[in-house]
Amino acid sequence: MAEKKANNTRRRFYNGYELARWRKWRGFKDSWVDFREWLTEKKISGELIKADPVRAFKALTYYHWLAPYLGSGSMVDRTIDDAHGEALLIAHKYMQFLLKSNVEALIKIIRADERFGKNEYAEKMVIFEQDASPILIGGFPNLTNAVEEPYFGILATANDQHAGHYFTDIIDSYGLPSDSCRNSSVVCGVAIDDQLPYYGACLVTSNAPCDSSVMNSSVVERRLKVPSIQGCTPMRWKDEDTREYAIAHVKEVIKFIEDCTGETFDWDAFFKTVRQYNEETRIQHELWELAKSPYYPVPSVPNLLYRSFQLSFSSGLNENCAKIGREMLAICEKCVKEKINVRPKTRHRTLVCGAPSSYYMHFSTWMYECWGVNTVCVLNNMSHHEYIDENDKEEALWGVAQLWEQAIMRRHLVGGYENMLELFEEYERFNCDMIVYYDDITCKGSKTMTGIIQDTANEKGIPLVWIAHDLIDPRSIPRSEMRKQFNDFMFTVMNEQPLDASLLEFDDSKGW
């Protein structure tokens, strides 16, 4: 329908790669902001080597999953590509926070790794598996948490689209099923290939919501050789009947950590973490109120990454999380109050749901640049957002169980059907006019609901597009195929022409 222009946006990139030949010119003011923030990001990234250069070198030359983080600078560029004005600053600040947190987490892992020598840190770490919130660590001030899957799989693939399938190939050739969720499969591959760091006093696995994770957890537990417990609180959508069991099980997990580490659970310290978590939640609620406005400036991808971090890695443990949230809230309030429009290309407001593709984390950025489709609500962000009781112990433990039940990849994919149909309520709330549903082909969680979701969208007259992807492996459904699915929908159902025809079809299959 639209012909490619002679001058095309992609000429800035090497053909086949997401590596830019030169940086984007954003006008004097925005380019200065971008340059200034880039300097900060370089300083943050340098900390990874500076903290312990010898160990960092050993880790980089041993772990296949670590080198992709060298691409974090390019990843930041990709996720902020569609941002201008206040949106650019917000995007940079979110990404800097994420970079800093990632660097700190990777430093923790490298420092504690006994593969490179005995150290005092290994025994102080409690490993939490599969995006289960580490909030309980707040009650153990002398311990620190480690999370694994995201660093080996999702985040590594967000930096380099080909990072993850190296490990999923390993599990395929090992004989394990290859049609299961790639997120947990990656860690299984890491474990089989002896690429798990040697650290941790104990491991808390979770009932990450599928057979894939159960399969992979068992492999990881055997390889890690540390005591483990399955932190399997019920996943029955807001079912009060499970309360007694859930609270009892959280207590078991606490006792397990106490037994493994010799530490005692400190309720005062835990409630301090809970208060911090509630503050993070409050800020997020205020942001969502602002998101209804056409002047909401926050680009979706940096916010998604920030919120994922806040729920799965921090949950009140990282004080900077709320600090950055407050700063961004102030900027958003200013934009909405003064009606500053930093998303002028917006033609459609979309709600995005389902598990986003790790190898195409910046798909929302492309949607905006190519088609003017502004992502105003990411349903994954609306995982647990309730307040946990700050005084009563039993209520607080029920809150922890609910936090695990409603974690990312659980709340809107498993546990019932009312939670999955919430997407239509959020669609109304955020004044959207279309829905993009990421259809992870290996994710069984939502498969039984796809018919109902489609039927409901048809009844309500809501344009809904399914974007199939393979989460970690771009070889089965490459980025170009994801774009094609969206292009077909926009041309055919939405009757739109692209804002930038040069972004319709291009090759970015080779690297990063």
């Binding site: 329908m1 018919g451 489609q454 048809n458 344009p463 077909d488 041309f491 055919t492 159902v493 009757n495």
Partner: protein, 265 residues
């Protein structure tokens, strides 16, 4: 009299249609596609043009729209439109009462919900798997050592259908050969094949919101046995189109060309 052209370059067949400025079909052509989509489109359109007195080349056409699998390789097209939109418009031109289409092409199957103005309301597509497509039927006809036309009416003679359990074209072919070897009646096996395809179409049709008033387009629409099977599975009567259903994409493209060309004039 002004004329407008539409060219639908498919994986298996290339279709070309020329309409006059009232939208009436002046000429049409269906030809086997070659490896080179540009050559396929040039030949088809040239043959179509030769049927219309007074025009000698594509330059004499007011506007041309390309569509189909090879739509970006139609060198003489003024514009390319998605085949989904063209099928919807083509069917709407022939019968505006039709609200849903199942398009079974050479390599893909689509369910299309049509809006009252002929635009697309929603669609669902399977372009990853050959099962239930023209390729599948070619493989099945080969197993029966029949032509496609002979195979398509074979199932009409059956009283019952032998279920085909394999989902995959490759395995289905093996299964059919095994059933033939077991001495099962060919018409009953053929009926089983038609039911298997119809069930796949059911999913596409439902995803596209098809409720009633459905029609078939694409080459497989001429398969009588499939039509009967789809009516049985969907419990809806399939609307017969007065124009060759395989031409719907090209006709829709020509109609888009007529509207665009007319507006330009």
């Amino acid at each position: 009299m002004k004329y407008y052209g539409g060219c639908d370059v498919g994986s298996t067949y290339t279709k070309a249609v020329i309409v006059d400025d009232t939208g009436k079909i002046a000429a049409s052509v269906i030809q086997r596609s070659r490896m080179n989509a540009a050559e396929s489109s040039e030949k088809a359109m040239a043959d179509c043009i030769s049927q219309v007195p007074g025009i000698n080349s594509t330059a004499d056409l007011g506007y041309i729209v390309g569509t189909g699998y090879g739509r970006n390789r139609v060198p003489f097209a003024d514009e390319n439109v998605s085949e989904i939109s063209c099928h919807a418009m083509g069917v709407h031109t022939v019968d505006p009462t039709v609200k849903a289409i199942i398009d079974i092409g050479g390599q893909d199957v689509k369910g299309i919900a049509v809006a009252p103005d002929g635009t697309v309301k929603n669609f669902a597509m399977n372009d990853k798997c050959a099962a239930g497509t023209g390729r599948f039927y070619e493989a099945m006809a080969r197993s029966f050592e029949m032509s496609l036309e002979e195979f398509s009416t074979l199932s009409l003679k059956a009283k019952t259908a032998v279920p085909i359990t394999a989902q995959c074209t490759v395995f289905a072919e093996s299964e059919v050969i095994a059933l033939v070897g077991e001495g099962k009646a060919p018409e009953e096996i053929a009926a089983g094949i038609q039911m298997a395809v119809a069930r796949r179409c059911f999913v596409m049709a439902k995803k596209a919101g098809a409720v009633n008033s459905i029609t078939l387009t694409g080459g497989c629409a001429k398969n009588e046995g499939l039509k009967k099977a789809i009516e049985k599975v969907l419990k809806i009567k399939v609307t017969e189109l007065s124009v060759d259903p395989q031409l719907m994409g090209a006709l829709g493209a020509a109609e888009f060309a007529r509207r665009k060309g007319g507006a330009k004039a």
